[in-house]
Symmetry: C2
Subunit: 330 residues, 2 copies
Amino acid sequence: MIRRATLNDVAREAGVSIKTASRVLSGVETVNPTLRDKVQRAAAGLDYRPNRAAAMMRSGRSDMVGMIIRDLSNPFYSTLAAGVGDIAERHGRLLITCSSEGTPHRQSSLIEAVMSQRPVGLIITPTTGTDRQLISEADRRTPIVAVDELPTGINIDTVTFDNSRGSRSGVATAVKLGRRNFVTISAGPQLTTMGPRVAGAAEALSAAGLPVRPTVDVIGPNTTDTARTAAYSVLDGPERPDAIFCTNNVVALGVAEAIVERQADVAIVSFDDFSLSSTMPVPVIVIDHDTRQMGRAAATLLFARLDDPQLAPQHLRIATSIRLTGGLQR
Amino acid sequence: MIRRATLNDVAREAGVSIKTASRVLSGVETVNPTLRDKVQRAAAGLDYRPNRAAAMMRSGRSDMVGMIIRDLSNPFYSTLAAGVGDIAERHGRLLITCSSEGTPHRQSSLIEAVMSQRPVGLIITPTTGTDRQLISEADRRTPIVAVDELPTGINIDTVTFDNSRGSRSGVATAVKLGRRNFVTISAGPQLTTMGPRVAGAAEALSAAGLPVRPTVDVIGPNTTDTARTAAYSVLDGPERPDAIFCTNNVVALGVAEAIVERQADVAIVSFDDFSLSSTMPVPVIVIDHDTRQMGRAAATLLFARLDDPQLAPQHLRIATSIRLTGGLQR
DNA sequence: CTGTTAGCGCTTTCAA
DNA sequence: TTGAAAGCGCTAACAG
């Protein structure tokens, strides 16, 4: 085993003081070119890799951005993370990403763990129950950006969709296409985005003079399997609807599988696009948006606040749009 | 702005020495319960959050696992990351995740950036051109695990699929179903997994006495759009095949879209499952595997090596299996 | 079981 | 432009 070279080793090898070596390797311009050259050669020869922990400790600045999301294996969240990564990289920062599985307890301990790294900021899909913690961190000037979901009782930067409006116009579009009998299948109510989506759909139905049937909540974790089970119960129930409003991508996937399996003529209104939506045999009304852009926007807010901590908290809305697809196979 | 409390602050507040505070907060058992209580109360009151950078510096141990993958927004890689996260969490470690976009240059600078954090280990989908760097890190006893792709010229822990065998049996299955005219559409050859998959498919065809048509390489980045374009060129070409072998999930999605759009009776053989594969109107032969498990396996190897650096490098193969699906809508 | 002291590798401060 | 010295917050080593 070879010991990792330190800045001291580099300085000694180059025959300069440690400070000169530090200057060269952190890109300070005012260094004699001859010395600079020597230092760079020494660093390369020793395979020097700066110790960021040490640098952080002294300077108080780390080079990491923390991110806490619900589920890294869900394409929505991983795309969000990819967007944050785009901007973090542009600023020369690394991303620490954690999945909270949406439980307040896990989220709470992840906040602790991530903050222990002293990241320059935190991007989080907040869960109810961690507000106090977030407030405490925000008070210490750590920029925190809430993304997708809204925190309660704390005024920080946020980036969300217009859940209510998007859902309303998605359902309204399906009504225009002639659908009359809607059922909403919703992911668990612990997701704060679900409420406005369900409400928006109901508004559109009421406005069209259509009945609002009881929302079917997916039981269990936010997976395609549980959603499919819920979809079967709806499709096989006493009154099969002619359209199902799916409150997110995971629900939509489960519903899509069930609809094809049952060969049902049931249109899908889906908040979030999903893979192969275009191949569905039934009409699909996608409430579409740019998820990666949402991640980028959140990270951009974070770095803006880092530049100027005095900025008033911003509340960004990412636009949604309606896209008609599916129905190709009939 | 409030200054973050340090261990010293906690110790003073609790009226004990800093070392006692340290012991309590890092869970050492041998502490007087009365003092323990005082310390815990003080820590909570001051909203103490340990500074991991300082701890790392002193102890030499960080609590992060580094991961460098090609594309976080690709469900395959994000699921891999989720699997690594599962195990990392079990060991109380955080995950730093970076997307290299598959370019050696970016991967190389990411390795530097990640290693500067002194993670306990690195899990990477290696790109040709970064081997020397990986060797240098492995020499310093940092556990490195290559996942999905194989590194060249360096003997470290690896976790891969049996790409050749999986592809062979996938294509052989399609042959058994009566398909005779195959075209392979492959993601860019910079992915080292593609070669064995293409070769395995060709072997199965040869063994069945069927012709091996030239492989169609997807031009450009590994996206559904580029794959779909390639698929159109195949479907609209002079001799439409009756089966397409897709070398990964992204290619499969593009091909699936094109097949449905053209209403073609073309079976899909896909390395990797993909969302809604079950809803395809054509037969789909999925060369299936547990991606999350692959991530878990990689992380498990990493922690095993951390426990015992003397272990001989292990080379794990994650099993693939054949699953028939699709064809439901006919 | 508890406390003291030193020092991890780096950057900041200040002096030359 | 360069260098010396101090110290960031924590834990290891050792003494009590």
